[in-house]
């Protein structure tokens, strides 16, 4: 069959399909072609094979293969909904992912909390050490921020400032968590750096504050949101380590496949970390900084929050394998 006859034969069908594909979603449903797309796709595939076999012109083959591409996308695009079933995620997906990555979780927590604890201890015993981590002005800023003579925690506060700080914590802290995760793609080195670096930085302030005795201001301030914030940073680091680990130790997969599998597992950890950091930012802006709530309540709620966050994570990490 000559190309012209071939085109004449099929072009009504091609035009119908093109028309269908340019229609909006709503109109497509009413189009009578909508139920026949798989069959049409097969037809086009057949026609394309014929066109190639018969060496028809480049233009015809190109147009047919584009039609095939579009129909293929139409059929195989799958459902694109982001109905993150929230409760399902919190009680099923996230715990399962944590358990799946338990060794990386353990590594992330150790790499973050060990430097944190050691630096805190060191700075408590030898306060001068804080100056080797922070510049002097920064330390003076901490002094004045958390001085017990201050009636206001952190900075001057009204409700507007609370919202401002909420925005700042989201922008800053979640950004840090995302970077901690993403830089794990460099064979885990970036996550390693951010975990240890943040551990040192936070530990130093804590040790220093304990040493100069600002118990009534600093610790009630951080204990509430610290539970969600610090663990979320550790989780982000763990996700990054998993990503890097998949490149270094791909196991029985090719590296290409390993990094993709790791990424789709890690992203669930990151969704979790994201939610935790939102909670932390909210607590930090509206609860921790409040001057009307007594320190006893802050400590008790803070400890309660630590238990709520840590106990499930510990159980998940060390739970025996089912089956």
């Amino acid at each position: 069959m000559k190309q012209q006859d071939f085109e004449k034969n099929y072009s009504p069908q091609w035009q119908d399909i093109e028309h269908f594909l340019t229609q909006s979603k709503k109109h497509r449903l009413n189009n009578k072609l909508s139920t026949k797309i798989p069959a049409l796709y097969k037809d086009i595939c057949y026609q394309l094979s014929l066109a190639i076999e018969r060496q028809y012109s480049y233009h015809l083959i190109e147009n047919l293969s584009q039609l095939a591409n579009k129909l293929h996308s139409q059929i195989y695009k799958g459902r694109n909904s982001f109905k993150l079933k929230f409760l399902d995620f919190i009680f099923k997906d996230f715990p399962n992912t944590v358990h799946e990555n338990r060794w990386y979780m353990l590594a992330g927590f150790i790499l973050f909390f060990l430097p944190l604890g050691l630096t805190a201890l060191a700075c408590y015993l030898n306060p001068d050490l804080v100056y080797s981590i922070y510049p002097a002005e920064q330390v003076r800023a901490f002094d004045s921020m958390y001085s017990p003579e201050n009636r206001i925690l952190g900075r001057e506060r009204d409700s507007g400032t609370d919202i401002e700080m909420f925005g700042f914590y989201i922008y800053n802290n979640i950004g840090i968590a995302f970077r901690t995760f993403a830089t794990g793609a460099l064979a885990g080195l970036g996550s390693l750096f951010f975990l240890i670096y943040n551990g040192l930085a936070i530990g130093a302030v804590m040790g220093y504050m304990a040493d100069i005795g600002y118990y009534s201001t600093f610790f009630p301030f951080v204990i509430g949101h610290g539970s969600f914030e610090l663990t979320a940073i550790a989780i982000s680091g763990a996700a990054g380590l998993r990503l890097g680990g998949s490149i270094l130790i791909p196991g029985s997969y090719s590296r290409l496949l390993a990094i993709r599998l790791a990424a789709s597992s890690c992203i669930k950890l990151m969704y979790g970390a994201f939610i935790m950091l939102l909670i932390a930012a909210f607590l930090e802006a509206f609860w921790s900084s409040s001057t009307t709530i007594s320190n006893t309540i802050k400590y008790s709620v803070g400890i309660g929050l630590w238990i709520i966050v840590c106990v499930p994570l510990l159980i998940l990490t060390f739970r025996k394998r089912e089956h």
């Binding site: 094979s49 147009n63 293969s65 584009q66 925005g167 989201i170 993403a182 290409l256």
Partner: protein
Amino acid sequence: MLSLSKIDNAISVEVPEGIDLTAELAGPTVRALAYCIDITIRFAASLVIYLLLIWLGNVGHGVFLICLFAMEWFYPVFFEVLADGQTPGKKKFNLQVVNASLTPIHWEASIIRNLLRAVDFLPFANVIGLISMLTNKEFKRLGDYAAGTLVIYKKQLNQHSLPETKSQYLSEPLALAEQRAIVNFTYRHRQLSQARQLELAQITYGWHQHNSDNSVEYLHGVGLGLIGKR
């Protein structure tokens, strides 16, 4: 042919229906240009939001920071998922983000590839991303590896027209490759300049009696005859 396939930026994905879906990959230059446009749009949008919110004092500043966060991390995600794989910058250059199977991209893949921008950006100005793109055939940056995505050219259907001339029929058969060359030459009559068409037509002087005055027209006629135009 082998050397051609080594420098070609076309890829093909085999599907069960027995055909190869094909696409053309987008290289670093055009992607960088699209990125610049997106950055500019993002910057301009931030500025507008800032100017609108600055009147609200501290509250406005807080909301602005949240917007800034959302735009920094989720601006590409939003467009890639809801606008057919195209951020405004990509749309300008006809680029599209798709899965490796050439299917439309979803939330998860888009979020992964855009979170990993943070590492592709390092140490400055996307250097790691660029190095990554230059070291593999599919121009993947690290985010594309992790998400299993590709950036391709979104093609438009060819609107072709045929030259207005009389069909010619040859008495002697042509080889398939020759037929194809002439047919494609005929279809490209609008894309090629007159001078170039003449130049190409000269190659065929050996086997027909036509000269520079009408060889192009003659070849077009042969092409029309081959595709069966009456």
